[in-house]
């Protein structure tokens, strides 16, 4: 018997969605093993997780709140990966976006909310975008690998933020806590519902997903991004300005991650600190991959990952099983998606050894 791999002609939409769902399920199945080791019952644990994520209005709003930055960082990764620009730096871009929001929105400008909020958002978008444009320029000029640059810049940025919130930006009223001055009220994103933490950032994320979806399908820019991502040589031959297109992608990608940072500062915390993001930038990579780089899929994948995190927190409180289970589920679902994408490209055939003539 031999195993033969045949390239698939075309994987249908159903198969693509199926692989993503299967990846999530397989990850949950695999995580049952450590749950058993921790002395819990996987069924109970997952039941509690679902309850913790969707069981009440409060729980669901927390899941949506958690999903908000993930939608934006997920879109940031999805749009970049589509152009084969490997942005691993959404985490840093998120912080820089948040930093820009604080710089502009903590008293430097005094505008009514209708102007202040867009200003803060634009500042965060441009700052985050610049953080991705720089590595892209370095890549184009010197051939340096953007994976390495963007990844390492994350650590540079987080150290910069730590320095700033301990120093120049430190809030004198924070009683010694390393956190920045607060945003003025006009710069804060309104809550969606009273008494819940959900904020308008969610709407921004959903609109961004819709805009990206339209851009990819309907606009010349989306056409060019697809061409550059799928076959750079043919795109260049056809006259598509490859470098300029990549820079546009970089700006959009970094900008979306920057918006995620704006949302966390202006919608949730109100100030900047170096623990603003529990790895939203990195989780965005998983979200984008789970979504198969589709903008609409990103929203759904972000909800899944957010639910896992929020549900695991709640489950952990009830059972004593570590909430690190959530990281395990998310990491394993990425691995499963990567394995699954192999089956999207190839059809596996088992056959008896053929006689070579």
């Amino acid at each position: 018997m031999t195993i033969r791999l045949e390239p698939r002609e075309d994987a249908g939409l159903g198969l693509k969605i199926g692989v993503s769902i299967a990846a999530g399920l397989v990850a949950l199945l695999l995580v049952a093993i450590p749950v058993l080791f921790a002395g819990g019952s996987p069924l109970t644990a997952y039941g509690l997780m679902i309850q913790g994520a969707f069981g009440s209005m409060f729980a669901f709003s927390e899941t949506l709140n958690r999903a908000t930055p993930l939608i934006l960082t997920g879109l940031a990764c999805a749009v970049a990966f589509r152009a084969k620009l490997w942005n691993i730096g959404a985490e840093g871009q998120l912080y820089i976006g948040a930093l820009a929001a604080v710089c502009v929105g903590s008293g430097l400008l005094q505008l009514p909310p209708a102007l202040m909020i867009p200003t803060v958002m634009i500042a965060g978008f441009l700052a985050g975008g610049l953080m991705m444009v720089i590595p892209t320029v370095i890549k184009q000029r010197f051939g340096a690998d953007e994976v390495v640059i963007t990844l390492l810049l994350n650590f540079v940025v987080i150290l910069l933020i730590q320095m700033l919130v301990e120093g120049p930006l430190k809030d004198p009223l924070s009683m010694g806590w390393p956190q920045s001055v607060s945003l003025i009220a006009e710069a804060k994103l309104p809550k969606l519902l009273p008494r819940l933490r959900m904020h308008w950032g969610l709407i921004v994320g959903l609109v961004a997903a819709l805009v990206l979806w339209l851009m990819v399908r309907k606009t010349v820019l989306g056409f060019e991004i697809r061409a550059v991502g799928e076959n750079k040589a043919a795109a260049r031959f056809a006259g598509i300005p490859v470098d300029a297109t990549m820079l546009k992608v970089a700006l959009i990608s970094g900008g979306l991650a920057g918006l995620a940072g704006v949302g966390e500062v202006a919608g949730v915390k109100g100030y900047l600190s170096s623990d603003l993001s529990p790895g939203f930038g990195y989780s965005g990579i998983v979200v984008a991959m789970l979504a198969g780089l589709s903008p609409i899929g990103t929203v759904i994948a972000a909800l899944f990952v957010a639910a896992v995190f929020v549900g695991a927190d709640s489950m952990s409180r009830a059972t004593g099983i570590s909430s690190y289970i959530a990281d395990l589920v998310v990491a394993l679902s990425l691995l499963c998606v990567l394995v699954g994408s192999f089956f999207l490209r190839f059809r596996v055939k088992w056959e008896r050894q053929s006689v070579v003539a």
Binding site: E9, D10, K218, T219, V220, L221, G222, F223, E224, R226, A227, E230, N231, A233, A234, A235, R236, F237, A238, G239, I240, V356, A357
Partner: protein, 513 residues
């Protein structure tokens, strides 16, 4: 030489890739102590034949026999391991060395069990003995990355000899060498042959084949075109064998050249080797097809890059309709009526995962024809694609089919539809029919000649001389980055072009006088 025993015998080897027959019933014998040259143009089937011999490909018919202990034995097809064991050593055009290891480590690599200690001394002694016998001098302890190309090649040859090769195959070994290094290699090869090795030397360069080989086997279009002993071979006869006789496919009426539409004036281009040009002048006239002949890698890609708008001259002037082109901008050229067919149509011509409609619109996607205010006009794109599919007989599922699902011939028809439907005034057809079957070839030729008759200026770049003779009104030959005018195609013959391709442009003048 033929009185020594046969080391290797290929019998009636046939290999097909889809519609293309790369090797068609080829037989050859290699004797002990003989250097056999395998000569042919690009695409003649040389490399395919050697890949079958070495077990990289499985032949459709025929077999490979190697001298073993009990006389000639048939090699199992498709097994490089068996070929190695039988004493066949291959030096590929692109080296297969681990750059971060020493020369000696590379030579030993794969010959010893995973856990082996204390064998280095024995291995070194064996390699040094081979070096002494062959003259393949090289520092065994330097990292391969620090060696010159010529030294790396020596390591490759040593690698084969270390495995007790009886037959050594060298695929275009001089392509990467300087003339001095090549001469050194020839000395080594003669010594190796004198010591009893059989050598197969693959090349498309006439001169070196005459210099080093005992016997020459000429391949053309996958078939054996001739076999001769080097000592009595005539240069001209071999050139004729290599390029073959005319097989007209399309009837070409006499041209009526008009004004110059595109011109290169004393253009030089600095770039990667094989792309550099020095002092090239070329004029493309309305209603005339110029055929560009040359051995691949002599500057064709540089000329193609200029006309395609992917490069601008380093010095000299490029003119389109008399105006200087100073910016590399494919879109501007396309908008000004330049049609470009890329050399590698699958790689540069289409985005495989995008649809036929997308690929037809791709060059002009920003123009008003296909977009408005930055939004795609899907309807216009689909209509254009539907018309193209019908008009150019592109066989596909429809405008939305992915381009990667199309066959090579249909991809070329797609590109023809993309570039010719605009009624271009200047056309670059780079290897327009490479890999296409005869029917598709004739169709492409017909379209190109129709465009010429409409008044377009055409440059055809091809490695297929038959094709150039079918299409071209005038010939230019590129060699080592320089362009030589060969004049009108009437009165030219293959042999002359073949010699000019080999850099013997003075012979043409002699014969003309």
């Amino acid at each position: 030489m033929t009185n020594t025993p046969v080391l290797l015998s290929l019998h009636n080897i046939t290999k097909r890739f889809g519609a293309l027959t790369a090797n068609d019933g080829i037989s050859l014998d290699l004797h002990r102590g003989e250097i056999l040259a395998l000569l042919g143009e690009n695409g003649a089937g040389k490399t395919t034949l050697m890949n079958i011999l070495f077990g990289h490909y499985v032949q459709d018919e025929g077999d490979v026999r190697v001298l073993g202990d009990g006389g000639l034995t048939t090699l199992p097809p498709g097994s490089p391991g068996a070929a190695l064991k039988a004493g066949i050593g291959m030096v590929h055009q692109h080296f297969t060395l681990a750059e971060n290891l020493s020369g000696l480590a590379n030579i030993r690599l794969g010959t010893e069990p995973l856990l082996s200690f204390g064998r280095e001394g024995a291995a070194r002694a064996k390699v040094q003995k081979i070096i002494a016998e062959s003259g393949l001098d090289v520092d065994l302890d330097r990292r391969v990355a620090d060696l010159t190309v010529g030294e790396k090649q020596r390591i490759e040859i040593l690698k084969a000899l270390y495995r007790d090769a009886k037959v050594l195959i060298l695929d275009e070994p001089t392509a990467v060498l300087t003339p001095q290094e090549a001469d050194g290699l020839f000395v080594v090869l003669r010594r190796l042959a004198a010591n009893g090795l059989g050598v197969i030397f693959i090349s498309h360069k006439l001169g070196e084949v005459l210099a080093v080989s005992h016997r020459i086997l000429v391949l053309r279009g996958g078939k054996k075109a001739g076999e001769l002993v080097t000592a009595n071979a005539d240069r001209r006869a071999i050139a004729d064998l290599m390029v073959g006789k005319a097989v007209a496919t399309v009837v070409r009426t006499p041209a009526s050249p008009g004004e110059v539409l595109f011109a290169l004036e004393n253009v030089s281009l600095h770039g990667a080797s094989g792309r550099s040009l020095s002092g090239v002048s070329l004029a493309l006239r309305a209603g005339e097809v110029v055929g560009l002949a040359g051995v691949s890698g002599n500057g064709q890609s540089g000329i193609a890059a200029l006309i395609s708008g992917l490069a601008v001259p380093t010095s000299g002037t490029m003119r389109l309709y008399g105006e200087t082109v100073s910016r590399a901008d494919p879109r501007a050229l396309v908008a000004n009526g330049v049609a470009r067919m890329p050399e590698d149509r699958q790689h540069d011509g289409v985005v495989g995962t995008m649809s036929v409609a997308d690929n037809i619109a791709i060059e002009e996607v920003r123009s008003a024809a296909f977009s408005k205010m930055g939004f795609l006009d899907r309807k216009a794109m689909r209509e254009r694609a539907t018309a193209a599919i019908a008009g150019y007989d592109v066989r596909c599922q429809g405008p939305e089919a992915e381009a990667r699902l199309l066959s090579g011939g249909n991809v070329q028809k797609l590109i023809l539809a993309r570039v010719l439907e605009r009624g271009p005034r200047v056309i670059l057809a780079n290897q327009p029919t490479r890999g296409l079957d005869v029917g598709a070839q004739a169709e492409v030729h017909r379209r190109i000649l129709a465009a010429r008759d409409r008044g377009a200026a055409v440059l055809v770049i091809s490695e297929d001389l038959d094709e150039l003779f079918a299409l071209a009104d005038r010939f230019v030959v590129v060699h080592a980055g320089e362009l030589h005018d060969a004049g009108p195609s009437e009165g030219l013959d293959r042999g002359t072009i073949g010699l000019m391709m080999a850099g013997q442009s003075h012979l043409r003048t002699e014969m003309a006088s």
